[in-house]
């Protein structure tokens, strides 16, 4: 299909004086796992809600699966699944009751519903918990239930808003396996996160900050095309070194990572290693040019602006 799954132009949402989202352009192709990476308050949830037709944009145009949103939101609802940031199933219903309820709401009838729920319980390891109240489950179990509920009606487009925020690392890895399964089966997935390792797994990524889209592209491209240089500094007294480095005009940021200090130099910095060696002259320090990580990309693209 030549048409993208989601297209947004100049997407903007204000809440009174608060600018939650400002002038965001998006083009998300079918079949991808597309990530929104941004800190809290960067507008991820607000954008997702506008794409689902739950919030009316202050300005801008949205088309999802070829439908004009929010005008045709009601038609869209049959084709999308939405896993909210906050657990939104019923705490006082069991796993089975929650799924039964949503199955009926989604219009699945008797036998089809039972079959589909059986499949999902298997796939998301919920069989032993079928009679457990949702409110009495762990973060990981709830998350699997929420994903099962969001995919009950086999939507072609799935919105996942910070699905792993209440989940331990091992469960996060399992969860992403499930997402790749869904993606392989042809589902387009839009997922928001503030974890770098998760963002790195996405096919495409949008980096958001205070409602603005800062960068867009595949993680590899974003890392390769970073204009900033990254230098790893190792040695003693890195805290002092960091403070001195931050005084230098060409240094954009410096952060300690394990035993190293990771220094980001502004775009156009020639010979970054020489520059640092010269200005931080100290015998016991070692300087190495490093391959940019996604975190470097994130820091570089969100720290440079001073507008807003």
């Amino acid at each position: 299909m030549p048409d993208p799954a989601i297209r947004a132009a100049g997407l903007t949402r204000h809440f009174g004086d608060v600018i939650a989202v400002e002038g965001v352009d998006l083009e998300i192709p079918h079949g991808q796992i597309y990530g929104f990476l941004g800190p809290n308050g960067s507008g991820k949830t607000t954008i997702i809600r506008m794409l689902c037709g739950l919030l009316t944009p202050t300005a801008g145009e949205v088309s999802v699966l070829g439908l004009d949103i929010p005008a045709q939101a009601e038609t869209l609802r049959r084709q999308i699944g939405y896993m909210t940031q906050k657990f939104s199933l019923y705490d006082d219903l069991t796993v089975m009751e929650n799924l039964q309820f949503l199955g009926r709401i989604q219009g699945l009838d008797g036998s089809a519903r039972r079959k589909r729920i059986g499949e999902l319980l298997e796939r998301y390891n919920l069989v032993p918990m079928r009679e457990r109240l949702a409110g009495a489950m762990s973060g990981g179990q709830r998350q699997r239930l929420a994903l099962a509920a969001a995919t009950l009606h086999e939507p072609t487009l799935l919105f996942l808003d910070e699905p792993t925020s209440a989940v331990d690392p091992e469960n996060r890895r399992d969860f992403w396996e499930k997402l790749f399964d869904l993606s392989d089966a042809g589902t387009t997935i839009l997922v928001s996160t503030h974890y770098m390792d998760e963002a790195e797994r996405c096919h495409q990524l949008a980096i958001l900050e205070t409602g603005h889209l800062r960068k867009q592209g595949s993680p590899e491209t974003l890392m390769q095309e970073l204009d900033q240089r990254v230098v790893e500094v190792s040695g003693d007294n890195l805290r002092r070194v960091k403070e001195r480095a931050l005084q230098l005009p060409r240094v954009q940021s410096a952060a300690q990572l394990g035993l190293d200090l990771r220094v980001l130099l502004r775009p156009g910095s020639e010979n970054p290693v020489d520059y640092l060696q010269q200005h931080l002259a100290q015998d016991d320090l070692a300087f190495n040019l490093a391959r940019p990580s996604l975190e470097d990309v994130f820091v570089a693209s969100t720290d440079t602006r001073v507008d807003r």
């Binding site: 689902c52 739950l54 009316t56 929010p70 009601e74 906050k86 019923y90 705490d91 219009g107």
Partner: protein, 368 residues
């Protein structure tokens, strides 16, 4: 077809949640019991066995008849009789009796001429007694205690005998059917208002409105369980009213069911409307009280409708409780026939439809 399935899904879910919510479930049962106890029993005990004296100046057969009529109401116990009003007054001041019934010399003549028959001297310092007799709607009060003797002016306030011939004027007979209106107003509005606001507060609504369920389906699905709740409550109140308070039931069950359902519908849809305004459960409760207060005060439950100022009457006409109180007293006590009930019933049904329409319109499937 799928619309019915969705409504059924919501109703089923709501019933399950209700059955697991001990607090709400307890309220369904306890609110009617408590109210019945408060309004029914409190008034019931106060109205009965007030110690009084009789001052019979006529010594006539009519006087003995009237005295007997007063006695059989059981509102008062005749504990003494005096020869002069002054003695009775002294007994009131001494606290031996709460009130005295003075029957004048020319009692028989007054009865023939249709004049007022006698006078009550009432211990006004005890508002309970005052309201007990007021609740009987039998006589104007004459404040006596604390005032020097001589404040008593014969022929001033007087007492209308006719009312004593109607033992059904016991106040709980009026109170208990009216009480159903108050209890249903309170619980029906509150439960529905909270049911939707709670989904919003807990975040369930964000998921629900991304599904194909329509606003009207959601509204109706949420209302249905509370229709049953309302029927349970009215059964409790009227059942106890019949057995404990011996309220006569002169109407037929069919009419009672129709008017009750119409009123439950009106209250539930009003609750829905509140839920589209309230942001939190607390706000929903406050708005419910805002409806409940005039429903108690203006609906005719507390004060006779006709005695209220015109402005209050107009406000009262908007409230579903006013219409229901008229209806249920009609059905329950007077055995009113269908034609008398039509205007108020239709009014309730129209109210329900309008409220439902406004709520559905206001409840947009969005988070804006």
């Amino acid at each position: 077809m799928s619309a019915l399935q969705r409504i059924g899904a919501i109703t089923g879910k709501e019933l399950k949640q209700l059955s697991r919510d001990r607090l709400t479930f307890g309220m369904v049962i306890m609110i009617p019991l408590l109210q019945l106890l408060l309004f029914g029993y409190a008034i019931n005990t106060v109205v009965r066995h007030v110690p009084i004296a009789v001052v019979d100046l006529s010594g006539s057969a009519a006087a003995r008849a009237i005295t007997e009529q007063v006695r059989v109401t059981q509102v008062v116990d005749i504990v003494a009789s005096f020869d002069t009003p002054a003695e009775a007054e002294a007994a009131i001041v001494a606290g031996e009796i709460r009130a005295a019934l003075v029957l004048p010399k020319n009692l028989t003549q007054r009865a023939v001429e249709g004049d007022v028959l006698g006078q009550w001297l009432v211990d006004g310092s005890d508002t309970m007694v005052g309201s007990a007799i007021l609740a009987l709607r039998t006589m104007p009060l004459h404040l006596e205690a604390g005032a020097p003797s001589g404040a008593y002016r014969p022929g001033d306030p007087s007492f209308e005998v006719a009312l004593f011939f109607n033992p059904e004027r016991r106040s709980e007979v009026n109170v208990v059917p009216g009480l159903t209106a108050i209890i249903l107003t309170m619980t029906m509005i509150l439960f529905t208002a909270i049911a939707l606001v709670r989904e919003r507060e807990r975040g369930n609504l964000e998921l629900l409105i991304t599904t194909p369920v329509r606003s009207l389906e959601l509204m109706v699905g949420k209302l249905v369980p509370y229709v049953f709740v309302g029927l349970v409550q009215i059964t409790i109140v009227l059942g106890l009213g019949r057995t404990v308070f011996q309220i006569p039931f002169n109407g037929d069950m069919g009419s009672l069911a129709v008017i009750t359902l119409a009123f439950i519908g009106a209250s539930l849809s009003l609750g829905l409307l509140i839920s589209t305004f309230a942001k939190t459960q607390m706000q929903a409760m406050q708005m419910t009280v805002f409806i409940l207060m005039p429903s108690i005060l203006l609906s005719g439950f507390m004060f006779p409708f006709e005695a209220m100022p015109k402005a209050a009457q107009y406000i009262a006409e908007i409230l579903p409780a006013t219409h229901f109180i008229r209806l249920i007293r009609g059905v329950f006590l007077r055995g009113a026939d269908v034609s008398q009930l039509v205007p108020d019933t239709v009014w309730l049904l129209v109210f329900t439809v309008i409220m439902l329409a406004i709520s559905t319109r206001r409840f947009r499937k969005s988070l804006d």
